[in-house]
């Protein structure tokens, strides 16, 4: 990845002492984090650990939330949600182009759809797509804006296991081609290990573990070396595995 090394020196996201609280309950308690440009990061945590709060803060979606701290994020940020969030009253291509203007937008939209394997479905209604297809359309919608940072909030959580494996490969491939920084929020330890080059564990409102996963891609779920990472991450999450 030599051509990208100089890019990696410039941080895409920087959080300093980021604090967020709801009704007096502190959810994020002074988070410090730097994500270099082009890095693929996964964020793990229990439900309620504040991982979605962190993502929403970076996305700028946390209006009316009390908090403090410094936050730097790139200008072009795209978000993929757990649900595909396609507007049911727009066909697929207009959904992908939502908020996009200018000449050539339609061409880019078609190209993005082709990239996620949905060429020819431009005129379909969202209700006609399967769960996996809808999520791929959502990926196309975030890619077409050429984001510097891609935020994904448990994007595969609602998909069946087989579709999820295919989506993992697709996401990794898209990342390789476009090289945005990625912050993938998930509760699935295996998903984090297979996809990300760096895995963070959020614990009691702070980054409890910052782990670099240094294994070549594509990774297999059966890779025995990955199980060491797995054990370490599960330990950080407070889960003890029965080894019998």
């Amino acid at each position: 990845m030599a051509p990208h090394t100089e890019q990696l020196t410039r941080p895409a996201v920087r959080l300093q002492g980021l604090t967020r609280s709801f009704d007096g309950r502190t959810v994020l308690d002074g988070v410090d984090l730097e994500i270099p440009a082009g890095q693929f990061v996964a964020l793990l945590g229990h439900s309620g650990s504040g991982k979605s709060t962190l993502l929403r803060a970076v996305a700028g979606l946390d209006h009316e939330v009390t908090g403090s701290g410094l936050l730097t994020a790139p200008e072009r940020v795209s978000v993929v949600f757990q649900d595909s969030r396609l507007l049911p009253w727009r066909r697929i291509l207009p959904n992908v182009l939502l908020g996009l203007d200018g000449r050539g937008a339609e061409e880019r939209g078609r190209a993005a759809l082709a990239e996620v394997g949905l060429a020819g479905r431009e005129r379909a209604w969202p209700s006609e797509l399967s769960g996996g297809e809808a999520q791929r359309a959502a990926l196309a919608r975030s890619l077409v804006r050429e984001p510097e940072l891609l935020l994904a909030d448990e994007p595969f959580g609602a998909l069946d296991a087989l579709t999820r494996i295919r989506m993992h490969a697709l996401l990794r491939e898209l990342w390789k081609r476009h090289r945005p920084s990625v912050l993938l929020v998930t509760h699935d330890v295996d998903e984090a290990i297979v996809l990300a080059d760096r895995v963070l564990v959020l614990d009691h409102g702070r980054i409890g573990l910052d782990l670099t996963v240094d294994r070549p891609h594509p990774r297999s779920y059966r890779d025995p070396l990955l199980s060491e990472y797995r054990t370490e991450l599960l330990g950080a999450l407070g889960v003890v595995e029965d080894t019998d």
């Binding site: 996305a59 978000v79 507007l87 009253w89 908020g99 209604w125 209700s127």
Partner: protein, 282 residues
Amino acid sequence: MTAVTTSTVTAAPAAAPDERPRTRRRALAPGRRLPAARLAGPLLVLALWAAASAAGRLDPAAIPAPWTVLRTGVHLWTDGTLAGDIATSLQRAGYGFAIGLTAGVVLALASGLSRTGEALIDGTVQLNRAIPTLGLIPLFILWLGIGETFKIAIIAIVVYIPIYLNTHAALAGIDHRFVELAEVQGLSRARFVREVVVPGALPGFFVGLRLGVTGSWLGLVVLEQINATSGLGYLMFQATNYGQSDVILVGLVVYGIFGLVSDSVVRLVERRVLSWRRTLSS
């Protein structure tokens, strides 16, 4: 161990009748629709009416025969009275409806899109709704005189209330996730309204529109029968004085046609505009 049910079912079509598949459940849905189902009931009533008239079982002064009503209708149409009255009535309903529609939509948008608007408008409309609109007639006659203006004003009020209420409810019910999406995609306010708010509120708007259309006819009938010197209601009111039950029935038929046609038009538009919806009825 083999698939017991399926094998017996397929292998024994000619066997004893109690070998039939038992997996089939009692059907609880009403089943397939009858052809021309909507017309069957009205046609039956019409047939009974005609039969009773022909048999001389109905007092022609109270309920004239269907063919008498038809003949009177043709007669009124050819001498020009009916056409003129229909035009007057349609104009009243049309103006009132157009004003009510515009007011309902504009107020709903203003109240749904801004908290200030909501504070000023929503409570006022709810209060307005609590007062039966037809109860405003005496006051409006004092304010606007007994001419066309007050009739149009009353119809407009009858129309704007259901349109406002349903459109506003639909606006308030727009999924917050879509608002979030619009923020993430960096939509401008105007584009947010065009891409998310308006399409999201359309289903509710159409419910209001259908109620508003019905309301405009209702208002029209009441207004024309108490204070008018022209129009369908006036024609019917005059007929009462002369005991012309056939003329009254002609008026009712025309009102019925108005209602049916306008409702069908709204439904047709609704089906085309909301084609993205795949509901149970489709």
